[in-house]
């Protein structure tokens, strides 16, 4: 009772404090259209307004709209429109063919597409249903009642438990946490994995238990639903008090509750009106380059069609003669009125006749093939399945499979993509003594290069190994540090690690179960290290840090110590250090500081030169081993100094202008006269197999650019480690850290700075380009590499310099862009995409890679690690960078090859078919008489030749997967687009002309006389059916001839198609109907088969038509072989199974060895650098500010989660 009354007093006090605000807000018209009023916990009052329900629907269609809308979607395709037009034409009398010829295939294609649409929509519907039916507890009467989400209404009071997702946008009322706060994870919204804090209004803290909550009768007046995630304005009217609401009280749908037992809230926006749904925007669908080229081919075919029709029309108008008595031409026949009319009508007649030249089923077949490729092959490839995170590859779109086979430029993010973003505490140096027995891979590489045997030190038994900690030295562990020369300094180091940070502990307060939420993984690693040294940081309140210290006073003693945190001097990129002022329980005041070596060394107290020198040596050593270093220092403060400083600090903190700057200045005052403790070294682990993958990809002719937000040193370091840069390369470094620029920056005039930087960048670019061109002209010039930082890039991307930048970077083998913003990542990507017209691929894992992923032709997200943002924006998601090898070299290359072959085959088979018709037209007086029966023609495409090509599109393999990876150079055929050139089209066209001529001429020439011993003669339909049979056989067998890998499915479908034709012919020719149809083909096949002649032609014609292609293929292979053909020949005796082993043996270097080798090539001057690399927590907001997005800076509110989120792992079976 006492508590609640005091709370009430509080809230009324706060209410009194803001009377003016109440008044101003009172002016808002509650019922104005721009405003919504929600009566909490009162469904009846909300009734008249008719808020939307909470059920969502992401389906495209419903039962009624499906047909019209679905058909409309289909007819947005030009090919379908074309066939619709042709179908309409064929309804008119000028058509030589019955409408069935064109309507049947069209409806078949539409049917298949519609079924696919319906299937996909059904899946979406099921998803929606499962979402709509998940349960949430709402207040009914005086108890919590679970209801499905879809029944949730605006104004309901809901209870959300820990780790649950918010079902709607909810006004936060109360929480089980003290101070009415709760933690929210927004990874689904913005990809940020840090926890955000939301705070309820004090006035509503009480409504937690159902009895109390049922008394809550508030009225929420707020803005109308909108899509701005970061704004919310409104008032809560409770008991005639009007309280202003802010985004802090709004819990958005899509977020989840963390670190809080449960919260109670009132629903404000539901269903499609939630902010998250208002943001719903489908990612722009990408079309593959090959498909765009396919359009060109289709247009060309269309032109060919028009030409053919024109020839026919002219021919007809010349040839047609009224003297042909048997035609019974009369003056009254309007279509034969004069030559112009004849030509005109014949033209359209011929268009309907030759319409089959456009492969109608091409698009739907390709779609089907790609769909199976992505769902069955890419998604289920065990080579791309990451067992540790239980993540298979995921093709989120099936449009771009073949694009993967033509990628020339890869833009890669660094953190989380190339590196694991997994920092492990590896070594440290205390008071001039280096600890840690581990050997980094880089050191191992150096040793190996020098021919030394690396003796892997035995790890002491029971050495602790956990995430973030990979350190072993018996001298420090388990309290052994007490026996070291300077145990006090050790203690200071451990305390510094345990206290000086901004980490939030989460979970149980036991060393095994605790999870540290840190702004950067480095921090988490350091705190973890402290824990393992016996200084276990387990709890933090805004003012206190609790550390469970072991072995401090004597061995084995464990005590909990609470350190009062007085000030936190935050990390930022200019300060490059972070300090904490804390008060020991015994009153000792200490400043702990950690930061970059040069920054710390400047601020050390005098007279510790020895330690300083030794520590610097250690730092250099750590740096050259590829470790990230930090220097640690402390300073004892006396209370007077501190108090006077603290006043200044408070002043600065409350300053309204230039607060940042003032804080920095104040910090300078106290961060001096430090005592050096030592340094730490953290290993930034590369993702598995990255150097190897990069090596393979570059052999495949793919250029890899690294775009990272990291500092230049870190970026270059990683570039070396990844084999991207080596010492043989000529490097062009364009940095904003030059003296000229720094000088200008110190002067501080923004315009002046911009001008200077621009000039500098221009100068550098020009110079580098000249040099690069010089190297390009020499025969054996070195490979080139470009390193540029974000600030310079900003100016280099200026239209005036863009061309220079592009031509320079295209000459370089590798490019590293550091400190770039997400926007710049996208700009660089589209620079290459649009400027150089090359096919680009972006790969990244975080929210800051989204723009880049969307800007590239193909976007790839790394799944299974950070938030889903990158994956959501991507076209493909893979778990590891190294899977790119499989994705590009195997799946991409195959898809490209397959789609090319499928397209070419479609082109060929339709052209062959139509050309026989065309040749026939010449012998019919250009009258447009059809050669084939209607049903033959309509089923040719969709039935007699449809399946083998799909099998080809699924199973075609030139070389096996392991050979594709072993000979990455094969990929270049895709980059050069070797299989989809006009030359290839021409070859296929020639083949089509040849085969159609053979089929047509051979039959017509030889079937002139009697064709059996009883002197009978063939009619038109006998001849055409014979030609058709030959054609079906030749075209189907052609599939086998063009396949590099023939499975039993090939045989089944090819044989099946031919058989299908024969069965169809038997049935179709055997029936008569009572309807008046031209019984042209009645009994034809039986007549044919009763003659020897039939079998003689059936052997001769397909053989002759395929012989041409056979000879061509043989000549091509023998004299102008493709690379893959040579590779096939090299490995012609191997079975697939044995190849996998070969791969291991052939590559002499294991991934680790290759990497260490690369690192061993680090240049001298760089190896001198001490490896300081510590991503500042503020670096997210740095990007945000560059992008113009307002991101609130919060000291304690924002705690970025460590790289690996604590996902519940699926237990391994």
């Amino acid at each position: 009772m006492v508590r609640s009354s005091s709370l009430n007093g509080d809230s009324s006090a706060s209410h009194r404090r803001t009377p003016s605000r109440t008044v101003t807000l009172g002016h808002i018209q509650p019922q104005a259209p721009s405003c919504r009023t929600v009566y909490c916990n009162d469904r009846d009052s909300n009734m008249p307004v008719r808020f939307k329900g909470n059920s969502i629907s992401t389906t495209k269609y419903n039962v009624f709209t499906f047909l019209p809308k679905g058909l409309f979607e289909q007819f947005r395709r030009i090919a379908n429109i074309y066939f619709l037009g042709i179908s309409c034409l064929s309804l008119t009398p000028i058509s030589p063919v019955s409408p069935i010829t064109n309507v049947a295939p069209l409806s078949m294609v539409l049917l298949v597409s519609l079924i696919k649409e319906a299937f996909e929509d059904w899946k979406r519907f099921q998803n929606d249903m499962s979402i709509n039916n998940s349960t949430v507890e709402i207040l009914q009467g005086q108890q919590w009642v679970p209801i499905p989400w879809r029944k949730l209404q605006v104004g309901d009071i809901v209870k959300i438990k820990q780790d649950a997702f918010f079902p709607a946008d909810i006004l936060f009322l109360s929480s089980t946490n003290p101070d009415g706060i709760c933690y929210v994870e927004t990874a689904n919204l913005d990809g940020e994995t840090n926890l955000k804090i939301r705070k309820a209004l004090e006035r509503t803290w009480d409504y937690l238990v159902p009895e109390k909550a049922s008394e809550f009768k508030g009225e929420i007046q707020c803005e109308q639903p909108n899509n701005s995630l970061y704004t919310f304005t409104g008032n809560l009217v409770v008991q005639k008090q009007t309280l202003p609401l802010s985004p802090d009280q709004l819990l958005l749908r899509g977020c989840s509750l963390r670190n809080t037992e449960y919260i109670v809230g009132a629903v404000v926006f539901t269903g499609h009106e939630t902010k998250v749904m208002m943001n719903a925007m489908n990612a722009p669908s990408k079309r593959s380059t090959l498909e765009k080229k396919l359009d060109k081919l289709i247009i060309t075919i269309f032109c060919v069609l028009l030409t053919m029709c024109l020839i026919g029309a002219i021919g007809c108008s010349i040839v047609t003669d009224r003297e042909d008595l048997y035609l019974g031409l009369q003056k009254s026949d309007w279509e034969y009125h004069n030559r112009l009319a004849i030509g005109f009508f014949t033209f359209f007649t011929l268009i309907t006749l030759f319409s089959s030249i456009i492969p109608i089923s091409l698009y739907v077949s390709i779609e089907m093939i790609k769909f199976i490729q992505s769902t069955q092959f890419i998604n289920r490839d065990l080579n791309m399945y990451h067992a540790e995170t239980n993540t298979p590859a995921l093709a989120r779109t099936s449009n771009l499979n073949e694009e993967l086979g033509q990628v020339e430029y890869i833009f890669s993010d660094k953190t989380g993509t190339l590196t694991r973003n997994l920092m492990e505490f590896f070594k440290c140096s205390i008071g001039g003594i280096s600890y840690g027995c581990g050997v980094t891979e880089i050191e191992r590489g150096i040793a190996q290069r020098n021919g030394l045997k690396v003796h892997e030190e035995e790890r002491s038994t029971g050495a602790i190994r956990e995430k973030g900690f990979n350190f072993d030295d018996p001298r420090l562990m388990r309290g052994a540090w007490r026996n070291e020369p300077d145990p006090d300094l050790c203690k200071e180091l451990f305390r510094c690690l345990a206290i000086c940070h901004t980490v939030l502990p989460e979970g149980d307060e036991s060393p095994e179960k605790i999870v540290y939420q840190a702004a950067s993984p480095d921090e988490a690693a350091l705190v973890t290290a402290a824990k393992n040294f016996g200084f276990f940081f387990y709890r933090r309140t805004p003012t206190t840090v609790y550390v469970r210290e072991s072995h401090v006073e004597k061995m084995g003693k464990i005590q909990d110590v609470a350190y009062e945190i007085l000030n936190v001097l935050e990390f930022n990129s200019t300060r490059k250090r972070q300090s904490v002022v804390c008060r020991y329980p015994d009153g000792r005041l200490v400043l702990y500081c950690k930061g970059a070596d040069n920054v710390i060394f400047e601020r050390l107290a005098d007279g510790m030169d020895d330690v300083r020198k030794v520590t610097r040596e250690h730092l250099e050593h750590f740096g050259s081993s590829g470790l990230r270093t930090l220097c640690l220092a402390y300073r004892d403060l006396d209370p007077e100094t501190y108090n006077s400083w603290n006043e200044k600090f408070i002043q600065a903190k409350s300053a309204l202008r230039d607060r940042e700057k003032k804080l920095d200045e104040v910090a300078e005052l106290i961060e001096k006269d430090l005592t050096l403790i030592g340094s730490t070294a953290i290993e930034d682990k590369l993702q598995e197999g990255v150097p190897n993958c990069i090596e393979t990809l570059s052999r495949a002719g793919i250029k890899i650019w690294v775009l990272t937000g990291d500092k230049m040193e870190t970026a270059i370091n990683i570039a070396y480690a990844c084999n991207l840069i080596n010492n043989d390369m000529k490097q062009f470094i364009i940095s904003s850290e030059t003296d000229a620029i720094r000088e200008a920056e110190e002067r501080g005039d923004q315009v002046e700075i911009a001008r200077v930087i621009k000039e500098e960048v221009k100068k550098e670019l020009r110079k580098s380009l000249e040099e690069a061109q010089l190297y390009m002209h020499t025969v054996a010039g070195p490979k080139l590499a470009l390193v540029i930082d974000g600030k310079c890039l900003m100016y280099a991307l200026d239209p005036s310099l863009r061309v220079t930048l592009l031509s320079l970077s295209l000459n370089c083998t590798s490019v590293v862009c550091c400190r770039v913003s997400p926007l710049q990542k996208a700009q660089v990507t589209s620079l290459v995409r649009k400027g150089a017209k090359k096919i680009t691929l972006s790969i990244g894992d975080g929210a800051n890679d989204v723009s880049m992923i969307q800007a590239a032709h193909v976007g790839i997200g790394i799944s299974g690690m950070e938030g889903m943002q990158a994956v959501m924006a991507s076209d493909f998601a893979i778990a590891q960078f190294r899977f790119l090898t499989d994705l590009l070299l195997v799946h991409g290359r195959w898809s490209y090859l397959r789609i090319c072959k499928v397209v070419m085959y479609f082109f060929y088979k339709n052209l062959t078919f139509t050309l026989t018709q065309f040749w026939f037209t010449f012998r019919t007086g250009f009258s447009g008489q059809r050669f084939y029966d209607d049903w033959f023609q309509s089923l040719y495409n969709v039935f007699f030749t449809a399946l083998p090509v799909i099998v080809l599109g699924l199973f075609e393999k030139d070389v096996s997967a392991s050979l594709s990876k072993r000979y990455p150079e094969l990929y270049r055929e895709g980059i050069r687009n070797s299989f989809f050139k006009w030359r290839v089209v021409a070859v296929w066209a020639t083949s089509a002309v040849y085969q159609s001529l053979v089929c047509y001429l051979f039959v017509t020439t030889s079937s002139f006389g009697a064709i059996n011993s009883s002197g009978k003669i063939f009619g038109l339909w006998d001849v055409s059916t014979l030609v058709f049979t030959c054609l079906v056989i030749a075209v189907n067998v052609r599939i086998l001839l063009m396949s590099n890998s023939i499975t039993r499915w090939h045989y089944i479908t090819v044989g099946g198609s031919i058989l299908a034709w024969l069965v169809f012919a038997f049935v179709y020719c055997g029936i008569t109907t009572s309807r008046d149809r031209n019984e042209n083909v009645y009994f034809v096949i039986y007549v044919l088969m009763s003659t020897f002649y039939f079998y003689f032609t059936l052997l001769l014609i397909p053989a002759v038509s395929l012989l041409g292609d056979f000879i061509y293929q043989w000549v091509e292979r023998w004299f102008y072989p493709y690379d893959y053909q040579i590779v096939q020949e090299i490995h012609r005796h191997e079975s697939d199974a044995s190849k996998a082993d070969h791969l291991e043996i052939e590559n002499e270097l294991t991934p680790q060895e290759a990497r260490s080798y690369a690192i061993s090539q680090l240049p001298r001057e760089l190896s001198k650098h001490t490896g300081f690399a510590f991503d500042s927590p503020g670096y997210e907001s740095f990007f945000a500010s560059q992008l113009g997005v307002y991101a609130p800076q919060k000291a304690w509110d924002v705690a970025r989660r460590a790289s690996m989120r604590s996902r519940p792992k699926v237990p391994k079976k």
Binding site: N132, G254, V871, G1015, L1107, E1129
Partner: protein, 361 residues
């Protein structure tokens, strides 16, 4: 984007899978993907179906060529022999059967009332065994013209019920309002030259039965359908039909109505069922009625025997022989080439990146 968020929230709704999984239509839900990975780790999804990988090695190429030639050359020889057995006499008469004075205006002659009888003499150069088939051959006659082909009514031909189905037959559909049977341009333009053959002044019987395909006779032309109003339209057509004989017995018509594929075609006229000896002369008295002159079409009379493969048809044999020969030649040429200047199979130096090492840049 948002739909995914929403969906992932549902994913957590059921407690077992709190993992973030995108449930976009095309995405596979991870947990179910895992299931399928374990269940469907098949050779299909791993793309390792057993397959035969044909490579055109010299051995394969040469043997293919050899096999083709080994099969084709005998077949060519066989069919050529069959064709050589056939004796064929062709006589073009369209020009010669116009009396010399009328040749300046053949159309006027053919349309006039002058007697059109004409005598031709054929000499048998090689013994012809019966049956000997008599054909007429027309050239430049577009029986496959679109307008011509469709001008018929199949149902009318089949059954008297459908007598009135004449819509396709224009302009020869009715005569004075009554449907023509058989209607249409094809029937109307029925060939009407007649041939009377005699050897050494003894008439040679020409059997005009059994010249049509059996299926046509039995199914397409009804035995209860009798010609009506035929050749009574405005236009002057070809032959007339005896209205007392059902269509199924009018084999001339049946043969004529199986329209030819090309503008040059033969049609069976009848057969002679006696052997003709070498040196026999055959007198043909023909009635030159059919007007091909207005479109300069040729008319020929053909007497021919047949082999098991049909009539005289050198094309098949020659084609087989040529292809077989070419294949044999190619096999030979390739063998020689391979022996003289071999290319090692799978020579890595042929790989493009080995040919110009700098090309990879």
């Amino acid at each position: 984007m948002s739909s995914n968020m929403a969906s992932s929230s549902a994913g957590s709704g059921d407690s077992s899978a709190a993992r973030k999984n995108s449930k976009r239509p095309k995405c596979i839900d991870y947990s179910s993907a895992l299931l399928s990975l374990t269940l469907l780790d098949s050779k299909f999804t791993q793309q390792e179906l057993p397959a035969c990988k044909p490579i055109l090695t010299p051995g394969w190429v040469i043997s293919t060529f050899l096999i083709v030639s080994v099969i084709f050359i005998p077949l060519g020889v066989i069919s050529l022999f069959a064709s050589q057995d056939v004796v064929e006499i062709v006589d073009r008469y369209d020009n010669d059967c116009i009396p010399a004075p009328a040749r300046t205006n053949k159309v006027a002659f053919i349309q006039g009332a002058a007697p059109k009888s004409c005598n031709r003499t054929l000499t048998v150069t090689k013994r012809m065994k019966q049956p000997i088939y008599v054909y007429y051959q027309l050239e430049n006659f577009y029986q496959n013209h679109r307008r011509y082909v469709k001008s018929r009514s199949d149902s009318q031909l089949r059954s008297p019920k459908f007598e009135n189905q004449i819509s396709a037959c224009k302009p020869e559909d009715d005569a004075g309002g009554k449907p023509i049977v058989p209607c249409g341009l094809i029937a109307w333009s029925l060939f009407n030259d007649t041939y009377t053959l005699s050897r050494n002044n003894t008439p040679l019987a020409v059997n005009k039965k059994g010249i049509a395909w059996k299926s046509d006779k039995e199914h397409k032309f009804g035995n209860k359908v009798f010609p009506k109003n035929f050749q009574k339209g405005n236009l002057t057509g070809g032959a007339t039909l005896n209205p007392d004989i059902p269509l199924s017995e009018q084999e001339d018509l049946i043969v004529w109505m199986r329209t030819a594929a090309l503008p040059t075609f033969r049609k069976l006229y009848g057969k002679i069922e006696t052997d003709l000896e070498n040196g026999d002369t055959i007198q043909v008295t023909l009635q030159n009625n059919y007007n091909t002159y207005s479109f300069s079409g040729k008319k020929k009379l053909v007497l021919s025997t047949t082999s098991w493969l049909g009539g005289k048809n050198d094309f098949l044999g020659i084609a087989y022989l040529t292809v077989g020969g070419i294949c044999f030649f190619l096999a030979l040429a390739f063998t020689i080439m391979y022996l003289v200047k071999p290319r090692r199979l799978g020579d890595p130096s042929y790989l493009s990146w080995n040919r110009n090492p700098g090309g990879g840049r």
